[in-house]
Symmetry: C2
Amino acid sequence: MAPPPRITITQVAAEAGVSTATAGRALGGYGYASDEVAARVQAAARKLGYKPNMLARSLVTGRSQTIGVVAADIDNAFYARVLRGIGDVARSRGFGVILTNSDENLDREKEAVQLLLEKRVDGLIITPCDVHGSEHLRNLIAGGCPAVQIDRAAYDLAADSVTVDNRGAAREAVAHLLTAGHKRVGIIAELEQIDSGSLADFVAQAAVSPLTAETLYPSWQRLLGYLDAHRDAGVPVQTQLIRRAGAYSSAAARHEAVDLLESGARPTAVFAADGTMSQGLMQAIADLKISVPGQLSVVCFDDLDWMTFMQPAITSVHQPVHRIGSMAAELLLSRIAGETSMPKHNVLEARLNIRDSVGPPPH
Amino acid sequence: MAPPPRITITQVAAEAGVSTATAGRALGGYGYASDEVAARVQAAARKLGYKPNMLARSLVTGRSQTIGVVAADIDNAFYARVLRGIGDVARSRGFGVILTNSDENLDREKEAVQLLLEKRVDGLIITPCDVHGSEHLRNLIAGGCPAVQIDRAAYDLAADSVTVDNRGAAREAVAHLLTAGHKRVGIIAELEQIDSGSLADFVAQAAVSPLTAETLYPSWQRLLGYLDAHRDAGVPVQTQLIRRAGAYSSAAARHEAVDLLESGARPTAVFAADGTMSQGLMQAIADLKISVPGQLSVVCFDDLDWMTFMQPAITSVHQPVHRIGSMAAELLLSRIAGETSMPKHNVLEARLNIRDSVGPPPH
DNA sequence: CTGAAAGCGCTTACAG
DNA sequence: CTGAAAGCGCTTACAG
């Protein structure tokens, strides 16, 4: 009933009649060992049911063969998928993955990083909750801990990043609507963090000077794509069609969407800028019993990947989410392996998946 | 540019002018230390930016403050949520979480358990991919590693489990359809693993002797609930209405659903036994342009949690998924803390969420 | 309350 | 190719 004591390399060495150093070399795949001895040690290990204690190994080698992940919220299809990509790569390379959630909260992020550091991860993959660069992340990098950012990139952090071309994808999505003849295209976006003054200022500024999207939050990048498409098509932007949920919440999105769709100048098409906004929009459409694409054309950013199963199937922007994770992991592992070069910002393309939710504007 | 060397407790002790033992006691919160010394040590630690090395601590204490999770597939809303529940509890108790995926593959599961054991997790939460009890899991338990099963329970494993009352929930769901007057209710279920001979045998046996659901796979448990509801309502079971996708695949489900809905004796209602089956069913309904609930009433098991956003909103069985994870983690932590009692199988209730997808049978 | 010593289970130079 | 010794960074008895 009492748990049998764990077998250590000392016992294996004794059983095989060699030193622990030799046993370690034979088992750990480092250093030399004659075939004869190696076989004897392995037999002893098998016989005793030896399992190496990685904690001890890590303590001496200084590497834990573990990567840490700070996700914003694993209970979200986007991060779940990213994590799958990370996990697949980690597994294939013999690495473990320690997972933490920040909930977009800076204190939680700090705690999470702290935990991961104490557990001596070899590197970490993080969704920084503040793109304006948090000091603790700079310290991390300065401390020599490899890190790869995901989904967003803090502008002054000398670390790799893997993101999606949000701006380009939104531009394409909105262009698709404008090309179908729509002149009043709404957008529902999170736009929580204020990057550059008010929303109106942002729009005004985008109109006169080309903004760079690199260091913005995804929802602002997508708004920029929306503005790009309008400029490209020569369709004037109407600020009352730009709706800001102000939070990553489908309830907030639903509220904004209902308000938008009941407003005097109802748009003939709407672009929802992420999966959660899309949920809210679809709820609003159901609330108001609006037919799609009859009365309203719709394109959704589909982080959540359920747009294909809706009726009608929604034209949506599909991110290569698994790839974000696997690429981040590959990058991180190459940094851990010592590959050194300038930090690189990798931008993946998102694909527009054309379905049945876009038609010509009504009458 | 070179990463600054890590600060160890030895350096903190030197800085504070005490022994490492005292420094450890002052910092680690174990043993005694006078207020004066404690303050001096803490000041030194802060000054040097000391971060404890948990690897070293774990090596000596024998506890890693880490729990391992073997999920079937994190890229699935069910496990993502479970993991959230686990992560929330772990965080609040200062534990780390190492995540692995088994993909319902026994070899992967073994590898995963092996990895977790080498990393010396204090316990693990697992979705056993073979409910017939795998030897490696028995060894694990025998080795004294606390483990909690999730979603299913291997029948001969002396370990806690947290599952959902699949049978009861399916029974309620199907009863809801039968009560609405449906006499031909179809079911689309995974039913991959054969638990007791053929499907027909299983159904026949259930009719004569009361089967116990405890050690069955979830999809078989749900089928049992389907049969229960029919027996309760005195409605005869028609085997051609019981469709088996044979795999956890929405494509397979879609195929079976199309076949079922195009068959001579088309059912007037269908129960989809899990989120993936539900996807397949909804696709089939779209393929065939069947109106819901006009021509067909539908109840779905909603692992994926997107039924509420569909049009029309689908009546669905909603599992307390987050709770599964948090409960499993709490249970595991109490075992790790040394609480010893008989393994307990905890069964959570699922809730039927009534929406618009059920009406009376046509004509 | 504090310190010197031993030790957790490994790996790493260093001799041989 | 192998072994004796030292050491990774901590904690744990054991004296004092």
